[in-house]
């Protein structure tokens, strides 16, 4: 027992010598300062957003919480900085969305919010991605089964056509063929590069 007591005493003194209160505070301070500096570093937001979106897709979970910063009628003058932000109506993939962005409703640009059901039928748009200068074919699925999300209304209509060309029309409720046709929000899923 005596040897066990000596061992614990030795370990405690060693720990106390190596981890003084002052050194602990100093280390916490270093970490906090570093964390504060991170947002100032020049990082590529678009890749971060893509990774974030991809991670959300892989987990099939919600994207980071959105904000109600959109005004559906302020989309006519696109803001370049917003073209890579999935929480913005100006995000490049949303070029023919007319509805609520699932990114602001618990989902992401390609994930339906929890408890909703994707529509199996969609309308299709072609959107230009300024980051790689390519045109992409985008499927605008609706997420269904709950009443309208009511956040981040987005009304863009590039190359959108009236309902006699249904596959290019965003006025139809694309939840129409779901068992529960209640519309909640809209996602934008890349189908491929438009040749």
């Amino acid at each position: 027992m005596r040897s066990l007591d000596n061992l614990f005493e030795h370990s405690a003194r060693l720990l106390a010598r190596q981890t003084s209160r002052r050194s602990l505070i100093a280390r916490i301070g270093t970490i906090l300062t570093g964390a504060a500096l991170v947002p100032l570093l020049p990082i590529d937001r678009s890749s971060a957003r893509a990774a974030e979106s991809s991670a959300a897709t892989q987990k099939n979970g919600p994207a980071p919480a959105g904000s109600d910063k959109l005004d559906s009628h302020q989309h006519t003058t696109p803001v370049k900085a917003a073209t890579d932000d999935p929480l913005s109506c100006e995000y490049w993939k949303y070029c023919a969305v007319d509805g609520f962005l699932c990114s602001c409703c618990g989902g992401s640009s390609n994930t339906c919010p929890p408890g909703t059901v994707p529509s199996p039928i969609t309308w299709i748009g072609t959107c230009h991605n300024p980051a790689d200068n390519r045109d992409y074919i985008v499927s605008y699925n609706d997420c269904c089964g709950k009443t309208s999300c009511g956040h981040c209304e987005c009304n863009r209509n590039e190359r959108e056509k009236p309902m006699y060309r249904a596959s290019r029309n965003n006025d139809l409720n694309w939840c129409m063929a779901n068992a529960d046709s209640n519309y909640h929000c809209s996602v934008s899923v890349i189908l491929g590069v438009s040749e």
């Binding site: 006519t76 007319d98 709950k146 209304e153 056509k161 309902m163 409720n173 939840c175 063929a177 529960d180």
Partner: protein, 386 residues
């Protein structure tokens, strides 16, 4: 102040108080009240039936009935989920083709048409539909009566396109007619229904007295869906409808005969304005049918701006096609206009619903702004009248 004066003032105050108490006691009490339900009476030319999608909570759409003379809300017609709305030819009934879910926002879907008596705003009866009703933006053509009110037509999209033929008197669905991809129900005469096709044609189905298809015919193309599509929100004219294109072409269709007759196309814009000034919104124009006036909310924008509200209202003579006036809406401090309607009487009022949910009431002849009703509902997107 001496004691005598104080005593005098106190006596005066007491006397005044006693007098007031006596007067109040002599006033008879208010009579007991009886709770009643208002009836709004016979419809008037300046009433507007304002479709409110309630887009932020879409299962709760409604129609606001608004008086353009007294500027008062007269009442409300509930309208369910993404409804189609219309008035009967005699103006006495509002029809609401809508969808309900058995558990409020979820559950079994029931599509139906509800009939509301416009003198009481009470629902009088309903007809249950197949669960195929077109759930889309409002127009005159989501649900529509035949000219003699014998039939009621309801547009179906599943997304296969067809329409239902209903007998509103017997309260039954008579038939469903496939339209081969052409959409909506544009009524003419007692038994004809036309639909808009992607090919730019009108498909016209003629019905027999039992509401079954007797014949069908396709018109020549009158627009090009690739280069300059027309808005589906056609506007009633004296003999048919006018369809505006995204670039501002006016396609007038005479549906008074057995087959559609297309009048020569004309333009809202000059060559210099083409592609920069455009019609837009949801209800893109209004026509006074006896005064031959066309009112169009116009905005400046490019491709893809066809749902933007107008920053000006342009007024045209339908006979000469001359632009008579431009009403800049900024001067009235109004948000962009996305729906417009004009009454059909000799002293017409013009209603304009804005993106800020305002309902503006103008004298249609002088452009005088008579009233702005703030926050008329949540998302007023279409205005019906009789």
């Amino acid at each position: 102040m001496n004691i005598a004066l104080q005593t005098h003032l106190l006596r005066s105050a007491l006397a005044y108080l006693a007098l007031c108490t006596a007067v109040i006691a002599a006033t008879p009490p208010l009579p007991a009240e009886h709770l009643t339900v208002a009836e709004i009476g016979v419809t008037k030319p300046h009433w507007a039936y304002v479709y409110d999608e309630a887009f932020n909570n879409e299962t709760d759409a409604r129609v606001h009935v608004f008086d353009g003379d007294t500027f008062r809300r007269l009442g409300q017609i509930d309208a369910g989920y993404t409804p189609g709305i219309n008035l009967s030819p005699d103006g006495k009934t509002t029809v609401v083709a809508t969808t309900y879910f058995s558990r409020g926002s979820r559950g079994t879907r029931t599509d139906l048409v509800e009939f509301t008596d416009n003198n009481t705003l009470a629902v009088t009866h309903e007809i249950v539909l197949p669960a195929k009703r077109a759930q889309t933006l409002p127009s005159y053509f989501n649900v529509a009566y035949s000219a003699d009110s014998h039939f009621l037509y309801v547009a179906y999209i599943t997304p296969a396109a067809s329409f239902g033929v209903l007998d509103p008197r017997r309260k039954t669905v008579l038939n469903e007619i496939d339209t081969a991809g052409c959409v909506l129900v544009i009524p003419s005469g007692p038994n004809r229904v036309s639909s808009l096709c992607e090919s730019g044609r009108l498909l016209t189905v003629t019905l027999n007295p039992q509401g079954k298809e007797a014949s069908r015919a396709s018109s020549d193309p009158f627009f090009n869906a690739d280069t300059d599509p027309v808005f589906v929100q056609g506007v009633p004219t004296a003999k048919g409808y006018a369809f505006l294109s995204f670039l501002g072409e006016v396609h007038e269709v005479d549906l008074s005969g057995l087959q559609p007759v297309f009048r020569p196309t004309w333009s809202l814009v000059s060559a210099a304005e083409r592609g920069t000034w455009r019609p837009g919104g949801v209800q893109v124009a209004a026509i006074h049918r006896t005064q031959d006036r066309l009112f169009v909310p116009m905005h400046q924008g490019g491709e893809g701006s066809h749902k933007e509200g107008g920053t000006e209202i342009w007024v045209f003579d339908l006979k000469t096609h001359a632009r008579l006036e431009r009403w800049p809406l900024q001067a009235y401090k109004l948000a962009p206009v996305i729906a417009i309607q004009v009454s059909q009487d000799p002293a017409p009022v013009l209603f304009a619903a804005t993106t800020a949910a305002e309902l503006a009431v103008f004298d249609a002849r002088t452009a005088q702004l008579k009233h702005v009703e703030q926050h008329l509902g949540q998302t007023p997107w279409f205005i019906f009248n009789h």
